[in-house]
């Protein structure tokens, strides 16, 4: 069914005052927001900047705020949005704007570089490699689904509202840290780092990261809280500390 729909898209660069501009297009059944943006780019605004790649929800490039909610444009069907109202499309608010819908997310990659990488224990199989039981790797495999779309970083109020970029790594890197810390082969100790440099205590577990994750990773329940519990083991559990003294 062909319908006319209005889109309000953020236009502007980092040095100019931005504003929402309206575009009307004819939409067809099955269209996603990214299709509409491409249609506008092809026919009405050839200078509209938008980052995208796979159109399949796997590259994590087309993150934006659709009607105020962080989402992937390629995975948001127009039929999911309220009918008869303009659809607003804005860039991620937590990161510096480059132009239109494109933001500079390079801060995330700089954070990642500061995390000690995977360090496996010495090979223990006769052929000089390792053996891992599937049941030991199940937990970590959930974290490997992350596509680094940074929607969780965008919605996290510690970054978005409190601007604590210097003391908090954000949910994406809590997932990354959990994947490393819970890995059955990894022997690196990152718990003091998770407490101090990565600032896990700043998370107040309001689960917005989980709510926006397009891969449906249970970020708070399966990554952040288990890491918080490991930090409690090391730093906040007096009985465990006492027990460790006599170990």
């Amino acid at each position: 069914m062909i319908m006319n729909a209005e889109f309000q898209i953020w236009r502007g660069g980092k040095d100019s005052a931005g504003r929402f501009e309206s575009y009307s297009i004819e939409t067809t059944e099955g269209m996603v927001v990214l299709d509409a943006v491409h249609h506008i780019q092809s026919n009405q605004a050839p200078d509209l900047a938008v980052r995208w790649n796979c159109k399949a929800g796997k590259c994590g490039s087309c993150s934006a705020e659709i009607n105020g909610t962080p989402k992937l444009m390629c995975m948001t069907r127009l039929s999911e949005l309220p009918v008869g109202q303009p659809v607003t499309i804005a860039p991620l608010k937590a990161f510096p704007l480059i132009r239109d819908l494109v933001t500079d997310v390079s801060w995330n990659f700089r954070v990642k570089k500061k995390i000690p990488p995977f360090r496996p224990r010495k090979p223990d199989a006769p052929d000089g490699t390792w053996r891992i039981a599937q049941e030991d790797i199940d937990r970590v495999q959930e974290f490997r689904k992350c596509i680094e779309c940074f929607l969780c970083q965008d919605v996290c109020h510690v970054l978005r509202d409190h601007q604590q970029f210097e003391s908090f790594s954000g949910p994406r890197y809590m997932v990354y840290l959990a994947a490393l810390e819970m890995h059955p082969l990894d022997v690196e100790d990152r718990i003091p780092l998770i407490k101090k440099e990565n600032g896990i205590g700043l998370c107040n577990i309001t689960k917005c990261c989980t709510a926006v994750c397009p891969e449906e990773i249970r970020i708070t329940d399966n990554a952040i809280i288990p890491l918080k519990e490991r930090v409690v083991d090391r730093f906040y559990d007096p009985i465990r500390k006492l027990f460790n003294l006599f170990k």
Binding site: E65, N67, G68, T69, P70, P82, Q85, T88, A90, K93, A94, F95, P96, D104, W107, R110, V111, A133, E135, D136, V155, H157, V158, R160, D161, H162, Q163, Q164, F165, E166, F168, S169, E181, M182, H183, P184, D186, E197, G199, G201, L202, C203, N204, I205, T206, K207, C208, A211, T220, D221, I225, P226, K228, E229, R230, V232, D233, F235, Y236, D237
Partner: protein
């Protein structure tokens, strides 16, 4: 991470481009939690009508000192200072109260509903200094596991209360007789819901197996971890149902004790 500063636009309190009714959820949480706290405080301060026959209100269990037959150590000693509280609930209610207050699920909910920190996802919050759970008093949330240990003990006591609620005084013989009343079912459902909530606790999940990177070769531990994880997936549902049912159980016993409600015996 001093070199990682990113400038961004800060939203004003309540500012958002969201079109949905984002305020409904925090409002419901605020209303239900406030109603529970007000009711539980009122009920705890009463000190009367908390038991009816073999039934004991969960807000008063275990009854350490009191005048009912459920009291572990009998009435309060006469030397008890008059200015101190005497209601049996006030001696014990701090434990389940702190278990819920420090619960990971409730924390997220009341930070949103009571402190607007944030009011909802992608909604601007009041401007203020933020330190998360790193400083006093919120750093004490890390003691949640200790309240879990107490909650597990309380669960056993509430289970025993259900057993006691299956024995009724036979008016003809004067002996106790097995039976099931509506109150027995109310108290039993209370234990089931509290059990579902407690066994899904994130701290218990950690202690059951989350603490280990490898669970292969530890079949019992792995089974425990899977079991707690199963309850944990519905932690929110268990949390709300058990909260409401505790208040309802107290209300049921209270109404029976005041004679406003008749406890129907299903089996006697």
């Amino acid at each position: 991470m001093a070199d990682l500063h990113v400038p961004a636009t800060i939203q004003r309190f309540g500012q958002t481009a969201r079109r949905d009714a984002w305020w409904v959820r925090p409002l419901v949480v605020f209303t239900v939690l406030s109603a529970f706290v007000i009711y539980a405080t009122w009920a705890a301060l009463q000190g009367v009508n908390y038991h009816y026959g073999s039934y004991l209100s969960p807000l008063y269990s275990p009854e350490l000192f009191g005048k009912s037959s459920h009291a572990w150590f009998g009435p309060l000693p006469e030397s008890w200072p008059a200015f101190l509280p005497t209601s049996p609930a006030l001696f014990i209610l701090w434990a389940p109260g702190l278990f819920r207050l420090t619960c990971y699920y409730y924390r997220g909910q009341y930070y949103r509903a009571f402190a607007a920190d944030p009011p909802s996802c992608a909604v601007g919050e009041p401007s203020r200094k933020y330190s998360g759970e790193r400083k006093f008093p919120l750093v004490l949330q890390n003691l949640h596991r200790y309240f879990l240990y107490i909650a597990l003990f309380f669960l056993l006591i509430l289970l025993y209360d259900v057993w006691k609620a299956m024995w009724f005084n036979d008016a003809e013989t004067g002996h106790e007789r097995f039976g099931v009343g509506v109150g027995t079912i109310v108290l039993a459902v209370n234990v089931v819901l509290l059990g579902g909530y407690t066994f899904g606790c994130h701290s218990l999940r950690h202690l059951a197996g989350g603490i280990k990177d490898r669970l292969s070769g530890r079949p019992i531990r792995r089974r425990m971890y899977m079991c707690v994880s199963c309850f944990n997936r519905r932690h929110m549902v268990w949390a709300w149902l058990s909260l409401v049912w505790v208040a309802f159980s107290d209300l049921y016993v209270r109404l029976c004790a005041t004679g406003m409600l008749t406890d129907w015996k299903i089996l006697l």
